[in-house]
């Protein structure tokens, strides 16, 4: 195996960690500094006809895509083999689900971007950060869908489950093998770089709303009572005026 180039080390060893640190640190910082800005910034009030189609298509699509990535990246091949799932069966499911979900996501996103550009009030409510985010997110989705199409439909001998996935899992137990990524096809490499760039961008965009998906709603009581003193007011006590514990 040829020795790793500096670029490979930077891209597949340094870059992912930098991005993840920015993601975690950025989320913590944003949550502490900007709880008020932590919102979906819904534009449904301005326009609902296009949103009615675009938003569910995109969101449900991306949720299935997320599930697919959990399947493909986090679950080792040995586990599915142990369950008796053959490679062919796995790939049929992956291609079918991946393509359908990917196309839904892409179409949904296309509708949403068209809506954002053409509907006046929505366009004027768009920030610079939104535009950057759309660019990166769009790149990630297009590259991912292209990889699925090329690798699974046109046929490719690259098995990401023994290459890219192993590298990805390595990141989390602090032993990533950059050689695995260096050997991956260019499409996968680009997708990975774009995805990590998106992670680094995440805390600073409206995408933060994904981290506060309201799953707690399923279990909490309907009516929330809260004491007046528990969590009110937008300012902390001034320095020197904090109450003692008496």
């Amino acid at each position: 195996m040829s020795p790793l180039s500096t670029v490979d080390v930077l891209l597949w060893l340094v870059f992912p960690y930098v991005c993840l640190v920015i993601l975690v640190g950025g989320l913590v910082w944003r949550y502490r500094y900007d709880k008020f800005g932590w919102t979906t910034r819904s534009s449904q009030l301005y326009e609902r006809r296009l949103l009615r189609w675009g938003s569910p298509l995109f969101h449900f699509g991306i949720l299935v895509v997320l599930l697919g990535h959990v399947m493909g990246l986090l679950i080792p091949e040995s586990w599915t083999t142990a369950l008796g799932i053959s490679d062919d069966a796995y790939h049929v499911v992956a291609v079918a689900l991946g393509t359908v979900a990917g196309v839904c996501t892409l179409v949904g996103m296309a509708i949403l971007i068209y809506r954002r550009r053409t509907v006046g009030p929505v366009f004027s409510a768009t920030t610079k950060m939104d535009k950057v985010m759309y660019l990166v997110l769009g790149t990630v989705i297009v590259l991912g869908l292209a990889n699925t199409a090329i690798a699974n439909i046109l046929g490719s001998d690259y098995d990401y489950r023994t290459g890219l996935s192993v590298w990805f899992r390595g990141i989390f137990y602090l032993q990533p093998d950059p050689a695995l990524m260096a050997a991956a096809p260019i499409g996968f490499q680009l997708h990975a770089v774009a995805a990590f760039a998106l992670f680094a961008l995440w805390p600073f965009t409206r995408l933060v709303h994904a981290f506060t998906a309201p799953v707690g709603y399923l279990t909490r009581p309907y009516i929330v009572y809260r004491s007046r003193d528990a969590h009110m007011g937008s300012r902390a006590p001034r320095r020197g005026w904090e109450r003692t514990g008496s």
């Binding site: 995109f58 965009t205 709603y217």
Partner: protein, 582 residues
């Protein structure tokens, strides 16, 4: 028994003259900001009429409030938790901006900046949503005083429901119709469906006084509360992406002041007070099978503050002594339970609303008087209340889910009061039989008259102050934003901290509303032009130009670009007169 205290309001509709002072002062205090231009925490509707937002009372369309499911249990009309989460990406039942109205301002600048020409310059309406020219087609009170009727009035959902049930037609022709005003704020319900609809758990009911609020730091803009509220009194701020609603002016109420809408009410028709209720029985009462029984069911949830058992339980529940005493003097208790003249608005939504109304007798009196008979004679009035089925049916649709009996009882009491007090005013011997026909004594009638007609300030508003010594000592009430006990501008960063954070308009800490108002007023008072553009956050052009977008010609050109000499029409003599030609 789990005793809780609830701040509530009663409005005496007989005294409402539809002046909209409450709406305007409320807007100045709370929603004079960008993102909530279209929002009126307090609005006054002419009834019959479509309301604001249009046809909000049609719950078959908007699916607000609660309903009973097949097993007879309460469930949200717009669907349960799973359905909510699955429709979170595009809420199918959210009113669009057209259902409220597209807010606008006028291009006033054109009046002073237009070049000399043949025609008088006009100030064209500009949308505050898109910044474009627009046609003004609707507003929060477009059908005020039956304007546009009977064409618009026919779309009133209450009128439709009444027509279907009673198979009667309401006369909508000019001079034959009837109308009255309905001021509305958030109902601060005992069983709030907006709170139940919020996926993030950002909306809550305050345990101490029952005021329903939105935690701006926890709201994520999922928009389900707007759908959940059948009164459509939760609004979406389209700039910050957060829900906002009537706060019952909690910073004022906490220090014993009435809400802004009450304080400024010209007709002095609003009453504020505390009610004690049994929180354990709320769900049971809201599940009452027959809609007609909901009014009585809610009345039974209230606890008599003069009952020693209730007072003891209340003290055990941590309700301060002065709150119990305030509940005993509460005008709400008197109007709802002692005199029984106040009724809830749309009890059939099953949210147990806490802003109640005394239905108007005036339309009936007017009809009787116009018929040429004595409009204050008890016999004439009693007869008219029964005969004039049309307003009764309409009032019943609003206040008792369609049951005319309680409305008739209330109107008869009000009629009896008028007749009885006329004898007193004319110095004639009082007729106790008038009071007796409505089940009251003369003294009771006189007490009710004092509360309804004289309505002294300290009897209309019995507001116990918040207790700062209770609860978490690190978060005292005087540190809440905008309490009246210290300077509102005294918060971290100081008055200079206005403007957007790095993630758009809404990011960063929320500037207290008083700070925004302070800046707006200062800018307005010190600017030497009609629309001084030097400061981005400044608002110009009457109440609510918000600096959103820059429509051509709305702002004066920056000094560098401004032409040094007035632009003249071609062929005009530069030394000639510069006044517009007629």
């Amino acid at each position: 028994m789990r005793v809780m205290a609830q701040m509530g309001m009663v409005m005496n509709l007989d005294k409402c003259i539809g002046c909209h002072t409450c709406s305007v002062t409320c807007k100045q205090a709370w929603t004079n900001r960008s993102g909530v231009e279209y929002v009126w925490f307090n609005n006054v509707e002419t009834r019959p009429g479509q309301g604001y937002p249009r046809t909000y009372q049609d719950q078959e369309r908007w699916l607000g409030g609660w309903t009973l499911n097949r097993r007879g249990r309460l469930s949200l009309k717009a669907g349960g938790r799973l359905k909510k989460l699955f429709s979170i990406f595009a809420n199918p039942k959210l009113p669009a901006i057209e259902d409220y109205y597209e807010p606008w301002t006028y291009d006033y600048d054109n009046l002073v900046q237009a070049p000399l020409g043949d025609h008088v310059p006009v100030a064209r309406p500009k949308s505050l949503i898109s910044g474009e020219d627009m046609q003004v087609r609707w507003s929060a009170n477009w059908d005020d005083d039956l304007g546009g009727g009977p064409d618009l009035t026919r779309s009133d959902p209450t009128l439709k429901a009444m027509t279907e049930k009673a198979n009667t037609q309401v006369r909508l022709e000019f001079e034959k119709t009837f109308m009255f005003y309905l001021p509305r704020i958030c109902e601060h319900c005992l069983n709030p469906s907006c709170v139940a609809s919020c996926p993030s758990g950002a909306m809550y009911k305050r345990a101490e006084d029952g005021i329903v609020l939105v935690d701006q730091d926890r709201c994520r803009g999922w928009r389900m509360c707007v759908t959940g509220c059948p009164y459509k009194k939760v609004y979406f701020n389209h700039r910050t992406g957060k829900a906002e609603k009537c706060t019952f002016c909690f910073p004022r109420v906490e220090v014993g002041l009435p809400t802004v809408c009450s304080e400024t009410c010209v007709g002095r028709l609003r009453y504020i007070g505390v009610m004690l209720y049994d929180a354990d029985r709320v769900a049971e009462a809201a599940s009452t099978t027959d809609e007609h029984d909901l009014y009585e069911a809610q009345r039974r949830v209230f606890l008599d503050p003069n009952d020693p058992v209730v007072a003891r339980e209340a003290e055990r529940a941590g309700i301060p002594r002065d709150w119990i005493e305030a509940a005993q003097r509460s005008p709400l208790w008197a109007l709802i339970n002692t005199y029984r003249v106040a009724l809830p608005l749309h009890p059939e939504y099953r949210t147990m609303p806490m802003v109640w109304y005394i239905p108007p007798l005036s339309p009936v009196v007017d009809v009787v008087r116009d018929a040429g008979v004595d409009g204050e004679d008890a016999g004439n009035l009693f007869g008219a209340i029964d005969a004039l089925r049309i307003p009764i049916g309409y009032l019943a649709e609003l206040f008792t889910a369609g049951d005319p009996a309680p409305v008739t009882t209330v109107l008869r009491r009000l009629a009896a009061m008028r007749s009885y007090m006329r004898e007193v005013n004319l110095g004639r011997p009082t007729d106790e039989s008038i009071a007796a026909t409505v089940g009251m004594t003369g003294d009771e009638v006189q007490d009710m008259f004092r509360l309804l007609a004289l309505a002294p300030y300290d009897e209309r508003y019995v507001i116990p102050t918040a207790h700062t010594e209770l609860g978490d000592p690190t978060a005292l009430a005087h540190k809440l934003e905008e309490t009246a006990t210290e300077c509102s501008l005294d918060y971290e960063g100081g008055p200079g901290m206005v403007g957007g954070g790095p993630f758009g308009e809404g990011s960063g800490g929320a500037a207290p509303i008083a700070v925004e108002n302070f800046h707006m007023l200062k800018d307005r008072q010190t600017a030497d032009t009609v629309a001084d553009p030097s400061d981005r956050v400044q608002r110009v052009n009457l109440l609510n130009w918000d600096g959103k977008g820059r429509p051509e010609g709305l702002f004066p050109a920056p000094p560098a670009e401004r032409p040094t000499a007035p632009q003249l029409m071609e062929g005009t003599d530069p030394d000639g007169e510069v006044e517009p030609r007629p």
